[in-house]
């Protein structure tokens, strides 16, 4: 057999051909470039054009950043140091960073307080945002608003304690009576909270803030990016529950509730935010006696919350409308009452659908907080537009300041967007 085969066949491979590398043009970086950048003439031209544009941008921007001056004390000194070369004057950031972050009136030796509140924000937000974490952490989340209030505004610790007691009393009343009748529980809770606040407010002695552990800082002294963060976080966290309530109210069968919600939503959505802010800052002060106005920060929070709650309500209504009618009927057929059906079946699905929309509103809201600069509150943009650009040292520094503001906002907004995408993946139960 072996003999025959060797003789009758001209060539037999007696082993595998050694593996040779693929042709150079079909491998590695070259293949990737050919496939992705130069797959056709048209794409090739576009690639070259894009590279030219990128080169142009970077060749202008990078020297500007690298030559940046960080240590001078005014714009004219920057110009002297640079001697006509391209270069940024980042000194404004190193000199005024505290004003950009905290505003120009927050006491310098107290910066640790808002910083600590900011760090604790992550601890407080974690169990809400990542629900795999132990549920016990929620206790800290519940305490956080009062803690943060005390840290940022300072003054007597009795004020946040009374506020906390009021909320606790409301929760207790609702727990006790809410099971029997929702309405009694709900209104009883509100009454209990106000009773505690009013009585507690009377009990706090005048001048309790004067020698408090933390020096009291009035709202007017808050500013900078801290103000944007405070407005953003407060308004988003208040407007989501309010938006859910409005969306459910709009679907209600009870005409009064339905029409209140419809009118509220349509009215607020029909008015520009800036108008609401002007009302908050200018008009409301006509309605209050000169010495006992409602705090400007609180007025602005109320207006922005109303505004974003109306939008979030419509987003959530979209989620509710997207649920098949069978889900509602299934809940009814199980014998669940309204609250149970909403809590266990309808809202979990509707909110999941609404996540991109809610995040969209939240990101927009966070950026809209810069509008408060037009009612002369010194948020990040207000600080830049007003005091810093009006100072004799830094008049004329635009790119550096507004670039820094853009970076700060981008970090936060991109973070929110990434979180929402994670949340969507985490909640995905379908088979796509």
């Amino acid at each position: 057999m072996t003999d025959q085969s060797t003789n009758s066949v001209a060539f037999v491979a007696d082993g595998n051909i050694p593996q040779s590398p693929p042709p150079a043009r079909e491998t590695g970086a070259i293949k990737w470039v050919r496939a992705n950048l130069f797959s056709s003439w048209m794409n090739g031209i576009l690639t070259v054009a894009a590279l030219l544009i990128i080169y142009k941008l970077l060749s202008d921007a990078l020297p500007w950043i690298w030559n940046g001056v960080w240590t001078t004390s005014s714009l004219s000194e920057c110009r002297e140091v640079l001697q006509g070369k391209t270069g940024a004057c980042f000194s404004v950031l190193s000199e005024r960073w505290n004003q950009l972050l905290f505003g120009f009136k927050y006491p310098t030796d107290q910066y640790w307080r808002p910083t600590l509140a900011f760090v604790l924000l992550f601890v407080a937000a974690a169990p809400v945002l990542f629900f795999d974490l132990p549920r016990k952490l929620l206790a800290f989340t519940a305490l956080y608003p009062f803690l943060a209030f005390w840290l940022i505004w300072g003054g007597t610790i009795l004020a946040p304690i009374v506020a906390l007691l009021g909320v606790a009393a409301a929760a207790y009343v609702f727990q006790t009576y809410g099971k029997a009748s929702f309405a009694i529980g709900f209104f009883g809770a509100i009454a209990a909270a106000f009773a505690v606040w009013i009585i507690g407010g009377k009990l706090i002695p005048d001048g309790a803030s004067d020698n408090a552990l933390l020096q009291a800082v009035p709202s007017r002294d808050l500013g900078g990016f801290m103000l944007n963060m405070m407005l953003g976080v407060t308004c988003v966290s208040l407007s989501v529950p309010l938006g859910i309530a409005l969306a459910l109210g709009r679907q209600s069968n009870m005409p009064l509730i339905k029409w209140i919600c419809v009118i509220f939503i349509e009215f607020v959505r029909g008015v520009p935010l800036i108008t609401l802010l002007f009302v908050a800052s200018v008009m409301l002060s006509y309605f209050f006696p000169p010495d006992s106005t409602v705090d400007l920060f609180l007025r602005v929070v109320i207006m922005i919350t109303m505004f974003s709650a109306a939008y979030i309500a419509e987003v959530i209504r979209g989620g509710l409308a997207a649920l098949p009618k069978g889900q509602y009927e299934a809940a009814d057929s199980l014998g669940l009452d309204y609250a149970q059906a909403m809590r266990l079946i309808i809202l979990p699905q509707a909110l999941k659908i609404s996540i991109p929309g809610i995040v969209n509103v939240a990101v927009g809201l966070f950026k809209d907080t810069t509008l408060v600069s037009v009612i002369s509150m010194f948020d990040l943009v207000g600080m830049i537009r007003g005091p810093i650009l009006a100072s004799t040292e830094w008049s004329g520094v635009y790119w550096e300041l507004l670039g820094a503001a853009a970076v700060l906002f981008f970090i936060v907004c991109y973070g929110i967007s990434q979180y929402s995408q994670w949340l969507e993946r985490r909640l995905a139960t379908d088979h796509r």
Binding site: L75, S76, R79, E95, R96, Q99, F104, K105, T108, R220, S281, V282, S285, Y286, F287, F288, P289, P290, D291, T293, V374, I375, S376, F378, G382, R385, G386, P387, I388, L389, A390, S391, T392, E393, S395, G396, Y398
Partner: protein
């Protein structure tokens, strides 16, 4: 329920506003702080420095009034206002006085119900153009795009000027001086127009100030001064005579350097009356006898305040011009302290 709260608040507000209108001086004294409205930022006139301390020419007026009334130049709560919020802030009682380079006009005085207590800076509206445009007179600006701050008298003056000269322009509305500067440098408009003092201050911060010229035409009168609400003449007098004290001090040669010496008593009775060692002028205003001395101690006399904040040795470099004393050919003239 909401409605009744609303009406309740309105009623309370009405009652309180009636009460508050009467005695701003007492309110300020019992509060221990003067609420003074200033600009959110105008180079040389009012801006907080790196330490958050308000500085500037308008700010100095607030400090002088606080010193005269409360004896402490730092007892001021500065309330930043924009061109749009300034008048409502004053009318609603949020601030006691407004020192925000505000032009004294008929309608603001009469129709908006304010009292201008004097003029701390005589200004006029001018034009700045890039030199390369080759324009030498504002009358050559036919068809130009003009950067202009909204809500100010400059906007109206500009329309008047172009109408009178029968030429056309295209306005580019902007909000703040800083924004205007940027728009102008970026070439969004050919011309920037605002008060001449503001133009000089703006030009001083440019990379190449020589590349821009101020046109010779001054097209308006802009008497800038502090103002208070109508109807409380006692408080108006306090602010008016505090300002007059600063001007009179310059005229009489009282400076922050020789103030202590002069306050002890001189042989010039007018100085003695102004500084309180003679007469009862302070008492007539409801203030301490030495209110004038305290106001001058806050930042010096009018000339010193001018030199420190906007004078020729500062980056802004404004000459006294119309704001020199009347004895030196200017318009600053204080009625006699008698």
């Amino acid at each position: 329920m909401k409605k009744s709260v609303f009406f309740g608040a309105m009623t309370v507000a009405g009652l309180a506003a009636g009460a508050a209108a009467a005695a701003t001086l007492d309110d300020v004294k019992s509060r221990g702080k003067l609420n003074c409205g200033v600009s959110t930022g105008l180079t040389g006139f009012s801006a907080p420095d790196a330490n958050g301390e308000w500085q500037g020419f308008d700010v100095a007026v607030c400090r002088a009034v606080a010193a005269a009334v409360l004896g402490d130049a730092s007892a001021v709560e500065f309330v930043p206002t924009t061109g749009k919020t300034r008048f409502t802030a004053l009318a609603s009682g949020e601030i006691d006085m407004l020192a925000r380079n505000t032009t004294w006009t008929f309608s603001r005085d009469v129709d908006l119900k304010f009292d201008f207590v004097g003029v701390n800076y005589y200004d006029g509206q001018g034009f700045m153009v890039p030199k390369e445009l080759g324009v030498t007179s504002a009358k050559e600006l036919d068809g130009a795009t003009v950067c202009i701050q909204t809500g100010t008298t400059t906007e109206l003056n500009l329309a008047d000027f172009f109408r009178v000269n029968n030429i056309s322009y295209e306005p580019v509305p902007i909000e703040t001086n800083a924004e205007a500067q940027q728009q102008y440098l970026a070439g969004s408009c050919d011309v920037y127009t605002t008060d001449a003092s503001g133009l000089a201050a703006t030009r001083a911060t440019f990379d190449a100030p020589d590349a821009h010229v101020l046109l010779p035409e001054i097209i308006s009168k802009e008497p800038l001064g502090p103002l208070v609400r109508h109807g409380d003449n006692g408080w108006g007098d306090v602010v008016r005579w505090t300002m007059n004290a600063l001007v009179a001090a310059e005229e009489l040669g009282i400076t922050s350097a020789n103030l202590a010496e002069m306050a002890a008593g001189t042989n010039n009775p007018e100085i003695n009356r102004l500084l309180g060692s003679e007469g009862t002028l302070g008492e007539m205003l409801g203030l301490d006898a030495d209110f004038g001395a305290k106001a001058i101690a806050a930042g010096g006399n009018y000339g010193e305040v001018f030199a420190k904040n906007i004078g020729e040795d500062t980056p802004i470099g404004l000459a006294r011009g119309l704001n020199a004393l009347w004895t030196e050919g200017g318009l600053q003239y204080a009625p006699p302290f008698r």
